[in-house]
């Protein structure tokens, strides 16, 4: 068997094509971005080596700082919302539900499979105020709260929150299913024993369940974090970064800079920043996993 499994030709055939594609189209571009980030202008047009000047000018770029702030707010709210509400949902499934577990799980998971753009279009109609009221406003209107009717995604004060609500709505079911699986893995006698010892409600959760769920909470945090750092599709589909940049994320700003204003070098710096935040943040979250 050893000989068969050490067949050099087969190994080359199995690995090389994928290796080449992966290297050329995923790894190389990342390194290339790093190289681009040291230049100004775009290739063939004012292409000049500027060293770390691009990085320095980030700090005085108001638009960049704004996008960074928006992106950070979004990360914090959406990650907490997705991971937190997912956990709450899973606990409800486990302790409150007696019947219809499968059906409810199926229903709650449903939004996860929808295309982001479709969800964005749907929610933009839910939040709509012109030319006619969307779902939310017409509800508010009909239950007598017409003073709350407002252009939810048309004003700076609410646009980002409206976007967060949408993204939490989409992914909450996903995390709840992951947690639910983990909760089922916790043996019933552990919970029973804790209950006999007088542990219930909050302290049961805090002292028994949460420590046992810790690895999965970390995984969910990393997953949700790396998804929210990339913030692009949903914001583009719902608000297109508006109004006035209130929902413009780092990725969207990078896209504008490099493809609309054609400043490839500067755009690459932002791309590198996104990469660093993503890797750095995930490593930071994973830190909490090791010590026991």
């Amino acid at each position: 068997m050893k000989r068969v499994l050490a067949n050099k030709k087969a190994i080359a055939l199995f690995v090389l094509p994928a290796f080449v594609i992966y290297t050329v189209f995923v790894m190389l571009p990342v390194v290339w971005s790093l190289y681009y980030s040291l230049y100004s202008g775009s290739p063939g047009l004012d292409w000049e080596f500027v060293g770390i000047d691009n990085y320095i000018s980030l700090f005085s770029d108001k638009n960049f700082l704004r996008a960074l702030t928006v992106n950070c707010k979004y990360i914090i709210v959406v990650t907490t919302g997705q991971v937190g509400l997912g956990l709450v949902l899973a606990l409800m499934f486990k302790f409150w539900l007696k019947r219809c577990k499968t059906i409810i799980r199926t229903l709650v998971f449903f939004p996860v499979v929808l295309p982001t753009v479709a969800v964005g279009q749907l929610f933009s109609k839910i939040y709509e105020i012109q030319p006619n009221y969307g779902l939310l406003n017409s509800f508010l209107d009909s239950i007598g709260l017409s003073n709350l009717v407002q252009p939810w995604i048309g004003q700076e004060s609410t646009a980002l929150w409206a976007l967060c609500v949408m993204d939490i709505w989409v992914a909450m079911g996903f995390y709840s299913v992951i947690y639910y699986g983990a909760l089922l893995d916790i043996p019933d006698d552990v919970i029973e024993a804790a209950k006999i010892d007088g542990c219930s409600g909050w302290s049961l959760f805090r002292r028994i369940l949460l420590p046992l769920l810790r690895p999965i909470v970390i995984t969910c945090l990393v997953f949700s974090f790396s998804g929210t750092v990339k913030m692009f599709e949903s914001a583009l589909a719902l608000t297109n970064g508006g109004p006035g940049g209130a929902t413009k994320s780092l990725s969207m700003y990078m896209y504008d800079v490099s493809f609309t204003y054609n400043k490839v070098g500067y755009g690459s710096v932002i791309a590198i920043v996104i990469f660093l935040i993503c890797v750095g943040g995930s490593m930071l979250i994973n830190r909490f996993d090791v010590k026991e």
């Binding site: 067949n7 199995f14 690995v15 949902l89 229903l107 990339k230």
Partner: protein, 275 residues
């Protein structure tokens, strides 16, 4: 007292389900509404009848037919390659004997961390130099390349617990490596392959960033990019057609999910739990 408590719990869970599902239900009813229904009645009202013209409008005038075809071609071709590559690479780095297998395995999974945005600009330059912008080829290549990391990772995880005895028996019976792969390993890996397929199908079908960057020719646009510019084409007023097209783009997901819901949930969450 206990009854009241469980009653309240039931109501909360019911409300949650409504929150998760009602928007979709609303979308479906809205896609059958006529223009006049929007102005005459509140938005939450049910549709008066089934105004199918919305769908016809979206399918023909809105070019949904073209977008559907493009998405389907790109997704399916990319999926075939991803599955083939993921199984062969995954097998080579877990079960075969060679010097660099650990390093190569790690190299492949490293890509899970790479944000798509970071690679976007150089990719655009590469494709523009190769004259591949505005072709399906460049989309398919990108889809394959960015689908590999997670897929290889999942296959690896699955193969680690794959029994060596079966392979041993196959070798003793005179199987070469290729026949063993095709007749023994692949059939036993069906579950892992379905997981990869489901997960990657959702990712590729939902892709927006790549297709909007690399494709500007409207006859090659995929469904997500198409949807995004729908509003411009129909104007903000034709809600019926917009809802019809959104509903259509959701349809493949809906069908797949209803048929395979357990597999889909397993597949989509596998990426997170094992990641």
């Amino acid at each position: 007292m206990k009854k009241v408590k469980s009653g309240i719990r039931g109501v909360i869970i019911f409300l949650l389900c409504v929150i998760e599902v009602y928007p979709l239900f609303w979308m479906l009813t809205a896609s059958f509404k006529q223009q006049s229904e929007w102005t005459e009645k509140p938005a939450y009202a049910l549709n008066d009848g089934f105004y199918v013209e919305n769908y016809i409008d979206a399918w023909t005038r809105g070019h949904m037919a073209t977008f559907f075809k493009n998405s389907l071609i790109c997704t399916v071709v990319a999926l075939v390659f991803i599955v083939v590559f993921a199984t062969t690479v995954g097998f080579a780095v877990t079960k075969m004997n060679w010097k660099w297998k650990k390093a190569v395995g790690r190299y492949f999974t490293m890509g899970i961390m790479v944000p798509v945005a970071t690679a976007l600009i150089p990719l655009f330059q590469i494709y523009s130099k190769m004259n591949l912008l505005n072709t399906r080829t460049c989309l398919i290549i990108t889809y394959i390349a960015f689908g590999l990391s997670l897929s290889v990772f999942l296959v690896q995880g699955y193969l680690r617990s794959f029994p060596d005895d079966i392979m041993e028996a196959a070798v003793i019976d005179g199987c070469g490596i290729y026949r063993m792969m095709w007749h023994i390993v692949v059939p036993l890996m069906k579950n892992a392959i379905v997981t990869v397929l489901v997960l990657q199908f959702f990712f590729k079908w939902n892709d927006l960033l790549f297709s909007m960057t690399f494709i500007s020719d409207s006859s090659l646009k995929t469904i997500q990019t198409g949807l995004l510019y729908f509003q411009d084409e129909f104007g903000g007023k034709n809600w019926g057609a917009i809802f019809a097209s959104v509903s259509m783009s959701v349809l493949p997901m809906l069908v797949l999910y209803t048929i395979l819901n357990r597999k889909v949930i397993e597949g989509m969450t596998a990426g997170a739990v094992k990641g």
